[in-house]
């Protein structure tokens, strides 16, 4: 818990980056913490970040996971149906349709980075709505219900403007899928941040998913596990955290993401050695 008397909140810069100054004078950065619109919300989020810090200086345990998809049995054939099901479908399904694409094979760069926008584009042929939905970034929302609300709002705006609901053939319906995750401990641990270089470069894609994508569902502020751990070293790795926060996971496969992270970490620590 943060108290006014021992911690001061300083809004450092930009919409998604804040700096905390603690009682002993340390500055701690928090990046990518979402779309808090008020100071109170920022403070609440910062408190959550402090929870992440409880892992400070503890070893980083490398975990792996297996994801399995489940059919919800719910399907939409037009925009109105999509909207209605979105309102009630379990949050796991919202999560799957935003992030599940990373686990599916693909050859092209995804034109739209969530399944809703892709379906609206390719099955309902509404490019404008697809573009709007495609710009919704799940990491900007503190929880999946708020993300759901945003998508429903965008669709409602569209529905208000049309006289009939665009629809697709039965072979192209939107099938709502959800997923569950089984997490297991690989019993590999790292104690020093520089060990991340080798650890990340040899991680399985599903381990990358767990620590870089799934973490956004577990950590306060929706950040990756690497940053959550590095924040625990006071402000020693702030620059590295900033670099990690710039990695956009939406436009690459998990294997590419692993390569990108490994290179970023390698370059950073090589630079430190010079």
């Amino acid at each position: 818990m943060l108290h006014d008397d021992d911690t001061r909140l300083l809004f450092a810069c930009k919409a998604i980056t804040i700096t905390l100054k603690t009682a002993d004078g340390c500055f701690i950065y928090f990046t990518s913490i979402g779309t808090a619109r008020t100071e109170t919300e920022y403070i609440q989020r910062a408190e959550g970040e402090m929870k992440n810090l409880t892992t400070a200086h503890q070893p980083f345990e490398i975990r792996d996971c297996a994801l399995a998809a489940l059919a919800t049995g719910k399907r939409a054939q037009n925009l109105k149906e999509l909207r209605n099901i979105l309102q009630t479908v379990e949050t796991g399904s919202i999560y799957y349709h935003f992030w599940g694409g990373l686990l599916r094979p693909r050859f092209d760069d995804p034109e739209y980075n969530n399944d809703f926008s892709s379906w609206v584009r390719h099955s309902l042929h509404d490019k404008e709505l697809a573009e709007r939905l495609g710009m919704v970034s799940p990491i900007e929302y503190p929880d999946l219900d708020k993300l759901r609300h945003e998508i429903v709002e965008i669709i409602d705006e569209k529905l208000d403007m049309v006289d009939f609901y665009p629809w697709c053939g039965p072979d192209h319906q939107f099938h709502f899928i959800t997923s569950y995750i089984v997490v297991f401990n690989t019993h590999k641990v790292i104690r020093k941040p520089e060990e991340l270089v080798d650890a990340v470069s040899t991680m399985t894609p599903s381990s990358v998913y767990y620590h870089f994508i799934d973490s956004r569902r577990r950590t306060f502020g929706n950040i990756d596990d690497f940053r959550a751990w590095l924040f625990g070293f006071n402000n020693e790795y702030i620059d590295l955290c900033d670099l990690l926060s710039t990695v956009d996971p939406f436009f690459s496969t998990l294997t590419e993401l692993r390569q990108q992270l490994a290179k970023l970490l390698k370059d950073y620590f090589e630079e430190c050695d010079r």
Partner: protein, 413 residues
């Protein structure tokens, strides 16, 4: 001696095998059973031939049981299959009685083992009523539907639903096939075994010998479809596509290679139709292969220039995966499980008609470089997504979730 898992690690990497060992830890002391209706022929039997020994190698006590039935029973279950794929099939009451009676008899024989098993997988509609006849079961029962049930003939589904709704979970290959059922519906696509005789690398000399024995001229282009003789596989449509292509590629040959699944009573009728459509064309080779002709199929897939899977409905289409694993793009029907394997213009082409198939065949025969490039992509796509190690991982994940968790997150230590 090298274990099966060690051999797979050479193909998929040791981290994939490590994951399997991690996942199996909480499952060491459980018993598992698979039940289906045939040990030979068809994709289900083929998958079980590998999944069962692999589970055993991982330390899970796994058994595989086959239910037995008379021709009337299989006629009924074939009608179920057709109805689930959308055909309007009226099934007489007497046939349904045979179906239920056969399951009751089989349940008596299997009672002592199935009632005590921790996790029971029932494959397809044939043994689905077993659950109904074994009310004292102790374990979790899962119905695995391998069929494209996207738009089933409703009266038949309504009847089958009575037997499937009481399962603890079901598995479908695609979300499109899932139905309204009061339990969890897992989505697990099937897979192929890269080390099986059907998929393992063959010496060129062996391939040559097999092909010349069949009487195929390897100096001329070859179009191939490997499938059971089943109307949903559209073998007559394949002959039409071949004829349309041959107008532009006169040296083209066609091979239709099919087996005979013991639970499919209609294959003889379809085979007769195929012979009639072929009309004694000496360049059309219609092969009726025994269930163990795996190396022959392997050699055919490696030799063919163009591989078709022109199904009208398809649960998954293991022959598509097999061909792609051999570095061949596939021209496939735009339906069911083919859609998740054939990524249009990347690993092959999706078509809706013989004309479409012929057009794509001509394109690939003309652009040999493109054919090779797409073939390489296809192989890599299968490696990442449709090998048995992925399939096994998803089965283990499912079992862990059935036994240890009900939420959307299960943490194992």
């Amino acid at each position: 001696m090298t274990t099966m898992l060690e051999q797979y690690s050479d193909i998929v990497g040791c981290e994939v095998i490590d994951q399997l060992h991690q996942l199996v830890k909480p499952l060491k002391n459980i018993s598992v059973a698979h039940v289906n209706s045939t040990r030979q022929g068809g994709g289900v039997a083929e998958i079980l031939h590998k999944l069962v020994p692999l589970k055993r190698e991982l330390g899970i006590d796994t058994e595989w049981y086959i239910i037995k039935g008379n021709p009337d029973f299989f006629k009924c279950t074939k009608s179920f299959h057709n109805a689930l794929q959308g055909n309007m099939v009226e099934i007489p009451r007497s046939m349904l009685e045979t179906y239920e009676k056969t399951n009751a008899e089989n349940s008596e024989k299997l009672k002592s083992v199935l009632e005590e098993t921790d996790i029971v997988f029932i494959h397809d509609p044939q043994p689905a009523p077993l659950l109904h006849f074994l009310p004292k079961r102790k374990g979790k029962w899962i119905w695995r539907c391998h069929i494209d049930a996207n738009r089933p003939f409703r009266p038949v589904w309504k009847y089958l639903r009575n037997f499937t709704k009481d399962y603890d979970a079901s598995i479908f290959s695609l979300a499109d096939f899932a139905q309204e059922l009061p339990h969890r519906q897992y989505l697990i696509p099937p897979s192929i075994d890269p080390l099986s005789e059907k998929n393992i690398d063959l010496e060129p000399r062996e391939v040559e010998a097999i092909i010349s024995e069949i009487g195929i001229d390897t100096g001329r282009p070859i179009m191939l479809q490997v499938s059971r003789y089943d109307t949903f596989k559209d073998p007559v449509g394949v002959i039409n596509a071949y004829r349309l292509t041959k107008k532009f590629v006169p040296t083209l040959q066609l091979i239709l290679a099919g087996g005979d699944a013991s639970d499919d009573p209609e294959s003889k009728t379809v085979l007769d139709e195929v012979h009639m459509a072929a009309n004694n064309d000496i360049d059309i080779h219609i092969l009726l292969l025994p269930a163990n002709a795996h190396r022959v199929i392997n050699a055919l897939q490696r030799t063919a220039d163009i591989i078709l899977q022109k199904s009208i409905r398809e649960g998954f289409g293991l022959t598509v995966t097999e061909a792609m694993w051999k570095g061949k793009p596939v021209i496939g029907g735009d339906t069911g499980g083919i859609r998740i394997q054939v990524v249009n213009h990347h690993t092959g082409f999706l078509v809706k008609s013989p004309e479409g198939a012929a057009l794509r065949a001509r394109y690939l025969l003309f652009h040999r470089d493109k054919l090779r490039e797409m073939g390489e992509k296809a192989r890599s796509f299968v490696k990442d997504n449709f090998l048995i190690t992925r399939h096994l991982r998803e089965y283990l994940t499912l079992m862990v979730s059935m036994l240890y968790g009900s939420g959307d997150r299960i943490e194992l230590e």
